[in-house]
Symmetry: C2
């Protein structure tokens, strides 16, 4: 009901909503630092400021939006339960936010989700309901639970509270850069449903209007690139495969897309190999663990390094929930990026 | 000459020196956040706040002390060159601090040091002089360079400027915990030459006198444990082997030892396997890359978890400069810690 009420007044996020979200998550979310590796800057011929959201609570930026949404909900309708469907980072973000706020929480997850993800979500105190992804519809299951228990459905990106929460990532980038006296020419961010990208774009453009915003998508899931080109929301190609599991969304959200059309300069599609190379370089130079989808924006910058030569770029490393086996793969492969 | 002058006034570090160091490194060093993994707290039956110095410039806390020392030197004797001997984290910390301050810098390194470490040190702009570790004496080489070039020798731990710089790590832990309203019962820190441990102990005890300070050493290199037991500085046993290369020091420094005797509660010796388990858990729950020596304090807490059950513990992860092959080993082994 929160969305509906908010929409009576508000059809799109604005800076005030993001500033309000920042106050809500203060002391609850990690204020992640901007990391810089001088050796890597020299190696690449660029100055890169990394925003490591892999260090965020629950291992990804998703906690920011979830906590923002749930804290607004808990104020407006105290004690209202929540339900979400996700096999990934959104599930953990919602579950932990609900735990901190004392809200009853149900997460609908596929029964073949990795055991570690099922276990983690339960460990945050959520009630996990599993479904067969080949025969059942998770949205219908979530809707039935919501109707039965009078619960609020917490959608992963097409939601103004979620978008404004994710936007706090951009607010922190802008404020930290301004405080340090650093001019940021470009911001690179991964795109799935567009919640993070739209929130960051609005926040960064509000403080630094001359900064350009770019995004990365896995090859085949380059629906946002095609949506911008055609001017209408396109679907991803689910026949293709990618290791960037965090970025597997059918299409960009309606609300995020409007913001992206207005504020974002363009996007780049990256391959699995490029994601693995970026993960290795983050290991080598930054000492952070990044999952494939979380490394997509960094991979895009590496791909486009000549175009962005000699500029200062902020790169969002959006999550770190990666299996040891996949991480071993990036270590064995190593980065094959050439020194400038 | 800075040490000699300082010692005319000052024989030991105090809180004012550490506060002054904090001002010097402000905006130069990363103010690392306190990270917490709610899942891991539940898993372990403890509340742990991690201080990830692996995210520090040059990949370890060593940059804090080096920048403090060199910025004081650059003020007192502008343009004076520096020389240091180290095959590891101290070399990179000194080289990068010198680069930022525009000081000429020579690092004496063994000729069989890993190529990546030689390359990194050169990339920070240092002049690297190699020696044969079986036939030559690095201290004599450094002393000869210092005499020839009128350079200041930057020692790794037995130095009040270095100790006060490393102590800023403890200052940040204390101030962040107090700001968050969190009572910290214990702090765990690795011990090599004692620069970090002594600085942290003094800073933490100044702000939180009821907090106990503990340290970790690799088995065989438990010279600080034996030094505290006997009341005199003991030597490490260099016949033993450890993967914790960052903690290979002959003995604790004279100045650090005095502080440790006064403020530190005790230490624990940890095995290679325990270090690898701690590295894996830091990967799994915190998404940070920690080197074996950097994980020693965490390994000690895991070893002693029953003794410290139900308390709140701050753990210093002191560095992240680890080869991919060694990191792969921790991923293959995984942590074998039992859920409480």
């Amino acid at each position: 009901m929160i969305i509906a009420e908010a929409e009576q007044h508000q059809h799109q996020i604005d800076l005030a909503m993001i500033e309000n979200a920042a106050q809500r998550i203060n002391g609850r979310a990690v204020k992640t630092p901007l990391l810089e590796a001088p050796l890597f800057n020299e190696f690449l011929g660029l100055r890169v400021l990394f925003k490591p959201e892999c260090l965020q609570k629950t291992g990804s930026f998703k906690f920011r939006g979830a906590y923002t949404k749930l804290s607004r909900l808990a104020e407006a309708e105290p004690g209202k339960p929540v339900v979400a469907f996700s096999s990934g980072n959104h599930a953990q973000g919602v579950a932990h936010a609900a735990q901190l706020l004392g809200l009853s929480c149900t997460i609908v997850m596929p029964d073949d989700a990795p055991v570690i993800k099922l276990e983690n979500t339960r460990s945050y105190g959520a009630n996990v309901v599993t479904y067969d992804r080949y025969t059942e519809d998770r949205e219908a299951i979530a809707a039935a639970i919501a109707a039965e228990t009078n619960a609020e459905i917490v959608r992963p990106f097409d939601d103004l509270d979620i978008m404004s929460g994710q936007g706090t990532t951009g607010l922190e980038i802008a404020k930290d850069a301004i405080e340090a006296g650093t001019r940021v020419d470009h911001v690179f961010c991964p795109a799935g449903g567009g919640g993070l990208l739209s929130g960051i774009a609005l926040a960064v453009k509000s403080y630094m209007p001359d900064t350009s915003i770019w995004f990365a998508e896995p090859a085949g899931f380059d629906d946002v690139i095609r949506s911008l080109a055609t001017g209408t929301r396109q679907d991803a190609d689910f026949q293709t495969r990618t290791i960037c599991d965090a970025l597997l969304t059918k299409s960009v959200g309606v609300r995020p897309f409007k913001v992206i059309q207005e504020y974002v300069s363009g996007g780049f599609a990256i391959s699995d190999d490029e994601a693995l190379s970026a993960m290795f370089l983050a290991f080598q130079y930054l000492k952070v663990v990044v999952e494939p989808g979380g490394a997509a924006a960094f991979a895009a910058l590496l791909q486009q390094r000549e175009r962005f030569a000699d500029s200062t770029v902020a790169v969002v490393l959006s999550g770190g929930n990666v299996d040891p086996a996949v991480f071993s793969e990036c270590l064995a492969k190593r980065g094959d990026v050439q020194r400038r």
